[in-house]
């Protein structure tokens, strides 16, 4: 997509900015129509099918083709006109000041409102199991996004194998619980520690790599973990996975219909929803812990060193910052949160298999971080909600789901190339806590 026509800065009236002519729009529409003609001539223009005895039957649909090309031609003109009226060129001038201040006020309210709403979800939707399950799923991805945000958003290290730590956490809990009968609350920190350990293991070989090379090695690491899980049948059960993973207890009190269950003890009637609500608050607490620790770390020297590393590694070394340990702690911290999320995943599902830990999961979590705006906690939460929740919204239109998803991603990247919340909040300030424009913030180099 080409840039909108350049408007001279002196042309202050709205009319002048619409000026660039009919010829330009017409030419652009014509080119689009031509591209559409070439693309669709075979896809729509000719229809092929296998006949009753396997022979090729084909017929032409030039009417449909002409309609398609005409739609593209007309659509291109409409889009171009819309771009000139509402496009990024004059956006700031068009939106009146009171609306802008109202928007920024609303922007500040988003996080608290979202948090309160999340707390109330199990109360409001108590009867709707589907919504509660969806909420748990979204929160799991919020937590994974926040965990990966430490590595990608803060330290600027592109990690395509994040799902490996999710898997390590899940299998750590599953194996410790099924083999040694350890409780969820003992296994949770262990799963985090084991995942952090594997984060360091990954960190060592990739210390000297940057950019694309780092991405490839982390991608391979994710696959290695998955393949080991599949092939080490005696330990992990291979492709059959591990079943019968114990459900979490509320600090020793099981959420079961039995006499020692929570419902019996409280003297209320047992309902399977209790466990779902408990799981909801459990993942909410874990996600908020991740958020709190990350916000806290950003204001500590280690967090500032991560961000400095993203900005300029050479300058970090000149200031006496040990870039090796800084990178390793970033990997370990991100991996630890992934491990927590994995342990939660295992206890929620009760069954895990390698199929849950494919590259697609890594890509999804990375997309959440990038869409949210690298480094922004609120942005990541919003992106997780949009990606996972939005995906569910379109479940009805099964075949168009990916199409809508793709278009939404493209549009978002055109309008907000640095993610939903692209600016960076400073970690310390003397007088004014002002956001830093995304133009200045580096994306990291590896």
């Amino acid at each position: 997509m080409s840039a909108p026509p350049v408007v001279s800065k002196q042309a202050s009236s709205a009319k002048a900015s619409r000026a660039p002519g009919v010829a330009f729009i017409f030419k652009k529409a014509l080119i689009s129509a031509l591209v559409a003609l070439v693309l669709f001539s075979l896809m729509i223009g000719v229809r092929t099918e296998a006949g009753p005895v396997g022979q090729l039957i084909y017929w032409t649909r030039f009417g449909d083709l002409a309609a398609m090309v005409a739609t593209v031609f007309g659509g291109s003109i409409v889009v171009e006109l819309l771009r000139q009226w509402w496009g990024p060129v004059g956006t700031i001038r068009v939106v009146p000041a009171p609306v802008q201040s109202a928007l920024s006020f609303a922007g500040r309210l988003v996080a608290p409102v979202l948090l309160v709403f999340t707390f109330l979800v199990p109360v409001i939707f108590y009867d709707q199991r589907y919504i509660l399950d969806l909420g748990i799923l979204v929160l799991t991805y919020v937590m994974l996004g926040w965990g990966l945000n430490v590595v990608v958003g803060l330290a600027g290290l592109l990690d395509l194998g994040y799902v490996a730590f999710y898997a390590v956490g899940a299998y750590s809990y599953a194996l410790l619980a099924t083999n040694f009968g350890l409780s969820f609350w003992v296994c949770l920190p262990l799963a985090g520690i084991l995942a952090a350990f594997w984060g360091m293991m990954l960190g060592f070989p990739v210390l000297r790599l940057r950019g694309d090379y780092l991405a490839i090695v982390t991608l391979a690491f994710g696959e290695i973990i998955r393949l080991v899980i599949i092939n080490w049948q005696s330990l992990t059960g291979g492709p059959n996975g591990i079943s019968g993973i114990p459900r979490p207890t509320m600090f020793g009190i099981p959420l079961s219909p039995g006499d020692d269950g929570l419902a019996a003890r409280l003297g209320i009637e047992f309902s399977p929803t209790h466990r779902i609500v408990f799981l909801f608050y459990l993942i909410l607490a874990l996600a908020l812990l991740t958020n709190w620790v990350t916000i806290r770390l950003r204001r500590l020297p280690i967090g500032r060193a991560w961000e400095a590393l993203r900005e300029d590694e050479v300058a970090c070394r000149a200031l006496g910052i040990n870039t090796t340990t800084t990178k390793l702690t970033a990997f370990a911290t991100g991996a630890m949160f992934g491990g927590f999320a994995g342990a939660f995943f295992a206890t929620r599902q009760g069954f895990i298999s390698p199929e849950s830990f494919t590259f697609q999961e890594s890509a999804l979590v990375l997309a959440i971080v990038v869409l949210g705006g690298m480094g922004s906690q609120l942005g990541v939460a919003l992106a997780a909600l949009a990606m996972i929740g939005g995906f569910e919204l379109f479940r009805g239109f099964d075949q168009y789901r990916m199409l809508v998803f793709g278009i939404a991603m493209v549009l978002l990247m055109i309008w907000r190339p640095r993610g939903l919340i692209g600016h960076r909040a400073p970690t310390v300030f003397l007088e004014r806590n002002q956001a830093i424009s995304s133009d200045l913030v580096k994306e990291g180099h590896g």
């Binding site: 620790v293 806290r296 770390l297 500590l300 020297p301 280690i302 500032r304 060193a305 961000e307 400095a308 900005e311 300029d312 050479v314 300058a315 970090c316 070394r317 000149a318 200031l319 006496g320 910052i321 040990n322 870039t323 702690t329 960076r424 400073p426 970690t427 310390v428 300030f429 003397l430 007088e431 004014r432 806590n433 002002q434 830093i436 424009s437 200045l440 913030v441 580096k442």
Partner: protein, 277 residues
């Protein structure tokens, strides 16, 4: 070499493949003095800097740093961040390397990383918000504030470093290096791209650093007005070797230096050199 040298470079050589960038260079930088390293473009000045600050490993020779308490450190044996952390040698870069997406204040806080890391109990004390950590952080902000005030950027403390004007960025980079509380400050062309007023302010800043902090300064500079005004000792390099050293006055009148700078052709230069020795 006589005198109280904080830095002694002995027979330093640096080769890149067949190219000899620095050849058997020896010089010293005196404690609490400003030493300038000058020479035409491509003379190997920045290579010397990179050897001193650990970005290159020298092919030969020794670089010894002597601290105030008489402790010797062989810089060529340390690498990377340890030069700044253990030997307390700070540097700035020819092309400014600030953290552009962080505020001026944050830049100075990052520079105090090692001190703050200890104070935060390797993050754990800081995570629980221990009082000792809060005190250390307040102290670090105070130090940063002091330096911002000294370079005249206090009112822009909360602006992104990448948004500052060029001259301010240069001064901020020096302040950032000073926040590591170095014994030796190495400046790579600090006056490059500054106008006359800004270079005068820079000279003042460097003189005040030497006077107030007692930091020894080693600088590479092309701006002769700055070099002549503030240097106590000047070392002149050309084609990787030292061709002269002495006080600014001595160096200015040295025929070899004049030949090197005016680009006398080779035979003439040799003639001048021979007549000089």
């Amino acid at each position: 070499m006589s005198g109280d040298h904080i830095l002694s470079v002995d027979h330093l050589s640096m080769r890149f493949g067949g190219i000899v960038a620095v050849n058997d260079l020896s010089f010293g930088a005196e404690r609490k003095k400003i030493t300038a390293l000058i020479g035409p473009n491509g003379a190997g000045k920045t290579t010397v800097f990179n050897c001193i600050t650990g970005f290159y490993k020298p092919s030969g020779g020794s670089i010894r740093l002597t601290h105030d308490d008489g402790r010797h450190i062989q810089l060529e044996r340390l690498n990377d961040f340890r030069i700044s952390k253990l030997a307390r040698v700070a540097r700035t870069f020819q092309n400014i390397r600030l953290f552009p997406g962080m505020t001026a204040l944050e830049n100075l806080m990052v520079a105090q990383h090692n001190a703050l890391m200890r104070a935060s109990g390797l993050t754990f004390l800081g995570l629980i918000g221990a009082p000792s950590w809060r005190k250390a952080e307040a102290h670090a902000i105070d130090l940063a504030r002091t330096w911002l005030d000294r370079i005249g950027l206090l009112d822009r403390a909360d602006d992104a470093a990448g948004n500052l004007p060029y001259g301010d960025q240069r001064r901020l980079e020096i302040a950032r290096a000073m926040c590591t509380e170095p014994a030796l400050l190495c400046l790579d062309e600090p006056a490059a791209g500054l106008n006359a007023r800004e270079s005068a302010a820079l000279s003042e800043l460097l003189l005040s650093i030497r006077a107030d902090q007692g930091t020894s300064i080693l600088l590479i500079e092309h701006d002769m007005s700055v070099v002549m005004e503030i240097s106590d000792h000047v070392v002149v390099m050309d084609y990787g070797v030292k061709i002269a050293e002495g006080s600014p006055q001595q160096v200015r009148d040295d025929p070899k230096v004049i030949a090197a700078y005016l680009g006398a052709d080779e035979e003439e230069a040799i003639a001048v050199m021979e007549s000089g020795t």
